[in-house]
């Protein structure tokens, strides 16, 4: 009798585990809700529509950067140039807007972003350089070039045009952040494309088994070149939106977001070795990190403790995730 109960129990546990394995987004949502609940307990009354709006507004640029990391990681790569590319775009936009208007400035800002992506893609896809090395090198080059540009541009000031501020910093109906106008369609396209489009499946195929993909006729090099260009453009977009959120732009504006963008994807359950994961998890991961930062701020923990907790939580979530999703 008791033996039977134990078997049933373990079977139930097994079912629960496999159910969770198929829906890794569920524990993430629970974690997010738990963090929000904890925040409300720590400081009653903080969780309000305007707070949610603010959190989402700050999470959107991070979530877009996480899209770059998600897609590159699905192929077994990584893009460590996203943060400097985002900073570059915001700075290029802000320095040119007085001359060419907001639309021209946005276009001008996204061209170098795409160019950096193209260089990354050629290095990774055609020359087979390790993505980590390639993107670290290009980020060195880009941050150097931004410094050079800042020197040449010393007379021209920076300005964030009202159109960008509208998208980044303001809300519809008092609580719906405007940057969702960009982000929601973008997220839907990425989610659908990763699941349903041929190109999306190719990313999974390349990451899962590159040799098999190659033998099946996939032009892996081309897939990667396109991928890194997309990643560069998205990073530029994230920089523009972040400039709108903050209301100003400098050459190093988005640099601190590099490691969080990787962390959001890791928390979101995309395997850094490629072939497994998705964008939905990364979005929740970006939200979790943003709420976590608020929580640590509200606790008024000193910077030291905040950093330690931040790292410890990333590791704990990643470890738990590995336990859930790996075959026992």
């Amino acid at each position: 009798m008791s033996a039977q109960a134990a078997t049933a129990e373990s079977r139930a546990a097994g079912t629960a585990r496999s159910w969770l394995r198929d829906r890794p987004i569920v524990p993430l949502f629970l974690l997010l809700i738990g963090l929000v609940a904890l925040l409300e307990v720590v400081q009653p009354g903080i969780v309000s529509p305007s707070w949610v709006s603010g959190t989402v507004r700050f999470a959107v640029p991070l979530a877009i950067l996480a899209a770059c990391q998600t897609m590159t990681m699905l192929t077994g790569g990584i893009d460590l140039s996203v943060a400097v590319v985002a900073s570059m775009s915001s700075y290029v936009m802000a320095t040119n807007v007085s001359d060419v208007g907001w639309f021209g400035a946005v276009v001008l800002a996204l061209i170098p972003a795409a160019a950096v992506g193209l260089v990354n893609g050629i290095g990774v896809g055609i020359f087979r350089v390790h993505p980590l090395i390639m993107t670290i090198s290009t980020s060195l080059i880009v941050s150097g070039l931004v410094n050079v540009y800042a020197r040449l541009n010393i007379t021209g000031g920076t300005r964030v045009p009202p159109e960008i501020s509208f998208l980044g910093g303001q809300t519809l109906f008092g609580f719906l952040p405007n940057n969702l106008l960009v982000f929601v369609p973008l997220a839907i396209v990425i989610l659908v494309a990763l699941r349903g489009s041929g190109y999306g499946r190719l990313l999974y195929a390349v990451g899962d088994n590159e040799i098999a993909a190659r033998l099946a006729g996939v032009r892996v090099g081309h897939v990667l070149v396109v991928l890194y260009v997309i990643s560069g453009v998205l990073a530029g977009l994230a920089g523009l939106i972040y400039a709108g959120v903050i209301g100003s732009a400098t050459g190093r504006l988005v640099d601190p977001y590099l490691l969080p963008s990787v962390a959001a994807v890791v928390i979101g359950g995309t395997s850094i070795f490629g072939g497994r994961g998705g964008y939905a998890g990364s979005i929740v991961g970006a939200l979790i990190l943003t709420v976590l930062v608020t929580l640590l701020n509200v606790l008024q923990a000193p910077e030291a403790i905040r950093q330690i907790l931040f790292g410890a939580i990333i590791l704990a979530v990643a470890a738990t995730y590995t336990r859930i999703t790996q075959d026992a």
């Binding site: 090198s137 150097g144 990787v262 395997s271 403790i305 950093q307 907790l309 790292g311 590791l315 990643a318």
Partner: protein, 333 residues
């Protein structure tokens, strides 16, 4: 023995010989080439500025050279340590805090203590990688925050102090003023730790798990233990880097410097494969010196630091592209 068998044997011998020669050439040619580039750059620097002294460069490069050595060991074992800059910051402030009021007699055990602390920090990284089964890059990314936070906990703002003998140890030249003392300290410490290790069973295990973890496991290598040792060594070298920061600056700074990127750049230049199992420690160290000389040269010809960063990045890209292209050609040929 039949002729065919003998012919076959001869072919085997030749193949073995070619493999052996190829290995030496491939392994050492890269380092030799780097040394040639280094000497050429040094001569160029002397021409540009006859008063140029290598010892300043050696002191400035010492912390990051140690970091590159530590990073190289982890990468050879098939991992990567993103936390090495934070570990350096932590040991840097630890040393500066403990040394500020220490008597010269007490300072020796204090330095030892900091190095042991670095070893323990690295060991913690390694244990977490092994136990959590999370990829190395993620674990050390998380630990990057943890150790940086710990450094801030030890010391909120730059401060503390050093002890005179540390500075004297790395300042000046030996002999006729050609070989800087900091370079000798670096080579001596790295040599004492690495040369016996590389020849030992443990060193072979480090290369084995980096080359093919499953094959190493099936051949009886203690994969988990070896990994922890590799990370512990990286922590140890990180601590050496931290202590040499204390020695050269005289204070502790809790904010990690750009040492992570530089250490990765150096191992790539130094011919260590990021896939693991290949490379040594000399190449990355020469790589650090080349990058340093290059920076000095670009300053001497009046170039702004911003440009020299761009040029460094371009050189890295070109080097890795050429390296990758050569490997690709060899594989398809």
């Amino acid at each position: 023995m039949t002729d065919t068998a003998r012919a076959g044997e001869g072919r085997l011998d030749r193949a073995a010989a070619r493999g052996w020669i190829g290995r030496v050439v491939r392994g050492d040619a890269w380092t030799a080439g780097l040394i040639v580039i280094f000497v050429a750059l040094f001569v160029l620097t002397r021409i540009l500025r006859p008063s140029f002294d290598l010892s300043g460069l050696a002191i400035a490069s010492l912390p990051v050279a140690f970091a590159a050595a530590g990073q190289a060991i982890v990468v050879i074992s098939g991992g990567i340590d993103l936390s090495i800059g934070s570990v350096m910051a932590l040991t840097n402030v630890l040393a500066a805090t403990l040394l500020v009021d220490a008597s010269p007699e007490a300072s020796v055990p204090i330095v030892m203590l900091v190095l042991v602390a670095g070893l323990m920090i690295g060991m913690i990284n390694g244990v977490l990688v092994v136990v959590s089964r999370v990829p190395d890059i993620v674990v050390t990314l998380a630990m990057l925050f943890v150790w940086a936070g710990a450094a801030l906990l030890v010391m909120g703002t730059p401060g503390g102090g050093s002890t005179p003998w540390l500075r004297e140890l790395i300042t000046g030249d030996v002999g006729i003023g050609l070989i800087p003392r900091a370079l000798i300290v670096l080579l001596a410490i790295v040599g004492i730790v690495w040369i016996p290790l590389r020849r030992s069973r443990l060193g072979l295990s480090i290369y084995a798990i980096g080359s093919n973890q499953l094959a190493a496991f099936r051949s009886g290598v203690q994969v988990a233990r070896t990994k922890i040792v590799a990370y512990a060594l990286a922590g140890f070298f990180g601590a050496l880097g931290g202590v040499s920061l204390t020695a050269s600056t005289g204070i502790g700074t809790p904010i990690p410097g750009p040492y992570l990127l530089l250490s990765v750049a150096a191992i790539v230049l130094g011919g260590v494969s990021l896939a693991g199992g290949r490379g040594g420690l000399l190449g990355p160290i020469v790589g650090i010196y080349i990058l340093g000389l290059l920076r000095a040269d670009l300053t001497f010809i009046g170039m702004e630091p911003a440009y020299s960063q761009v040029i460094q990045g371009v050189i890295m890209v070109v080097v890795v592209m050429v390296g990758a292209y050569v490997t690709l050609r060899r594989r398809t040929a």
